[in-house]
Assembly symmetry: C2
Homo-oligomer: 462 residues x 2
């Protein structure tokens, strides 16, 4: 169950001559999350950081969501959503079950987050963010904008000062100053503002304090503002409300705070930790169960909580595959190889046993480490190609316009074109010469305006 760091590592290391493996996940790819922030601004393309779960005949994969586990019958219940929201469920038997379903972004039940904030967890999130940034710049460039309106549109607020938030801020700042500033002369780039709001008293709390100080100085130089000890009370359509009542107007809010349990984890009745994670023993076995294992962000080893990082999940995945393959009987031990984050302007912060520092050297190491970690040869070729491309030609500043088109479709959908029911034979359209004559008058009465607004919406979303 799951296709994240932990499950995917288990999957790729498990001995398929011993096990008949079935993967169930709503996502049919593994996502190389450390480079996700790079895709939001177009340094990298979306398809370069994913790895398909389907491989030629090595295992089964079902695109579905697990909704329940029955440990007595040893079955898993899965759910598939049809085109119109109808649910089909099916049941799969198991001998050994590995749960690696991860977490979802924690909104802390703060009003408006789910509705108005942008998240940074999946590829489609990154894609939405990217479209939104360009849209904001385009809208700020229109001739009827006042300076004040431009300033509001071009203010991006990032909530959360962990590595994800900081890396996104760094990439965003690069994108603004290197690319967008050249292409959008009518958007006042000196008014563009990126603010990182952090609830605790320091950012990047997992890193060495001196390194963070250096990093903060460097981040400040890139034009990113950091506000620590700042709590968000509400997210409004075009503003963030702080706990002291201050309202910060902005064009976009990106939410990158901690993780919370997802729907499946809430449904499962296994023993849980205080952080609502599944409790496992030192062999990653779920407490009280024989053949159920859990790993990654959804699991917690009793008494020794580990950071919710890709590194931990991957190490656990590796260990679990060895355990299931019968190669090891030892308990799982995590040895950190260090942590790192990109902070903008070709500088990174790196905190490992062998190297501590911020700056260009860290950045080169940052890129090298991630490049070696990419599994697919295809991606190992594509990522450097795209880095070179970005270096030479800059980042792409176009939007595909889905968001805006959808809004327009909504507006114009009910307006029928009176000329459209002329037969096309009259129009000399040589490129597409099919002649679809108009339906008879009687069929016109069945036009889709009879559909409810909700159904239409549902269809547009498909």
């Amino acid at each position: 169950m799951g296709t994240g760091w932990g499950s995917f590592k288990t999957l790729s290391k498990i001995d398929t001559s011993k096990y008949d493996v079935t993967v169930v996940s709503p996502r049919n790819h593994f996502l190389f999350t450390p480079l996700l922030a790079s895709t939001t601004v177009g340094t990298l393309d979306f398809r370069s950081i994913i790895d398909p779960v389907r491989r030629k005949g090595q295992h089964h994969y079902y695109m579905a969501r697990c909704i329940d586990v029955n440990t007595k019958d040893k079955t898993v219940t899965c759910e598939e959503l049809g085109d119109f929201g109808e649910t089909n469920t099916f049941t799969l038997p198991y001998n050994k079950l590995v749960i690696g379903v991860g977490c979802k972004a924690n909104t802390f039940n703060i009003p408006g987050v789910e509705e108005y904030a942008y998240f940074l967890k999946e590829l489609h999130d990154a894609r939405k963010i990217r479209g939104r940034i360009i849209e904001l710049f385009e809208r700020a460039s229109l001739p009827n904008r006042t300076v004040d309106e431009k300033r509001k549109l071009l203010h991006i607020v990032i909530v959360g000062g962990g590595p994800t938030g900081i890396e996104f801020g760094g990439e965003l700042s690069d994108f603004f100053w290197r690319d967008l500033s050249r292409y959008f002369p009518d958007a006042p780039i000196h008014e563009v503002c990126i603010t990182i709001l952090e609830a605790s008293n320091k950012i990047l709390s997992a890193f060495d304090e001196n390194l963070v100080k250096q990093a903060v100085r460097s981040i400040m130089k890139t034009g990113v503002h950091i506000r620590t000890d700042t709590l968000v009370k509400e997210v409004k359509p075009n503003a963030v409300v702080l706990s002291d009542g201050t309202e910060i107007p902005c064009g976009m809010v990106v939410w990158s705070t901690g993780n919370g349990p997802n729907t499946l984890m809430q449904a499962l009745r296994f023993p849980k930790s205080r952080a609502a994670k599944i409790l496992v023993d030192e062999h990653l076995r779920v407490q009280g169960e024989e053949d159920v294992y859990a790993l990654g962000d959804c699991a917690e080893m009793e008494g020794q909580p580990l950071p919710a990082t890709a590194q931990v999940a991957q190490a656990q995945g590796h260990y679990l595959a060895s355990l299931l393959n019968g190669k090891t009987q030892n308990p799982f031990v995590f040895i950190s190889v260090g942590i790192m984050a990109y902070i903008g302007r070709q500088k990174s912060i790196m905190d490992s046993k062998y190297f501590k520092g911020t700056g260009l050297l860290s950045w080169i190491l940052w890129r090298s480490v991630y490049l070696t970690r990419l599994e697919l040869v295809k991606n190992k070729c594509q990522v450097p190609f795209e880095w070179v491309r970005t270096f030479i030609w800059g980042r792409d500043v176009t939007t595909f316009g889905d968001q805006i088109t959808k809004r327009y479709q909504k507006k114009y959908m009910t307006q029928k074109n009176p000329l459209e029911n002329k037969p096309a034979t009259e129009a000399p359209t040589q490129q597409t010469p099919s002649t679809q004559p108009a339906p008879t008058a009687s069929t016109k009465e069945e036009t889709p305006s009879q559909l409810t607004e909700t159904t239409k919406e549902e269809l547009k979303n498909n």
Copy 2:
């Protein structure tokens, strides 16, 4: 007005020392439409076939939709849609106006087309098609599917036997037999069906008849069915109804018939042809107007209608730039350099003065011609890189899952997580260590469930 073949060519050839150019279009890129079908199956990436309209300081660009032209005051009224569908309009003055807004797909007012069919005109259309194909295969692979259900899901109907429809069929067939068949062992690839429905009595009517015969034989071999003289009466969610009442169940309907006038063309009160196109003289000047020009798919030269192809639009754009630059006074004359289309399995059909044929040689020529026509050096580098990549590693079989995620979000959005209002400090999430405590009980009452369903939808679409 517009960023298609005609307008974009005028834009790139116009003398900016003589004119202060402003472009208005809802789309901020030029799309290389002949390669659009290749992106639906992942032979090429979406960003490799687009060219940003924004260039460094050469002209102004406004992302907006023109809604009216006032030739008396010499102004254009433009409209921008805000986040929540609210309309902002602004007016731009002009000395010379070039209208190149193209057309939209003609649905002939056939019920269900607008709602259930997929179009193939813009990048976001191609993206939707791609996601849908993979989704259909994933759903056909689920364990609870009967053979009959699988067959229905894996039937793709293309309406329109013009070059767009045929090329899409060819690319799709390649994708099925080369890539998807290897990755989806549970989807019965021999049951997969592609059907092209054409209303007239032959496909590719602009091509030489003998060439078309050869092409049809070749297309049949790739497993694509062609049904001519077939009219569509209605498109249903998972089926197409023919004029004789037959209902063909299918997973997806792709609509690639002729063109119809878009909203702006309907609004403009210029003299129109029978095909509802703006009538222009041999200098592309709109009839009865002094400084208004029209070109491409939205224009028709009185008495001599030209095919609605990229080639014509581009030639007109080139001519108009010369005319405006004062380099020519001659009327516009179109000389066709030939037509071509990809038909699958590395074969193309090509009909030009110098070469007529179908097969591998045509295909090599097809690729070469398009490669030389790409304007950006970046794209000239990327497209061959991607062709090589596709050749070596095949096409990507993952979906980003937007569609499915949206359906799930809809379903689970109202379910609040009871554990989420625990402060995150309890959770040892080292990766994102921000501590956003829960809002006080009073704020919880303001949760977004008060929003109407429609507003939520609107937001999800953004």
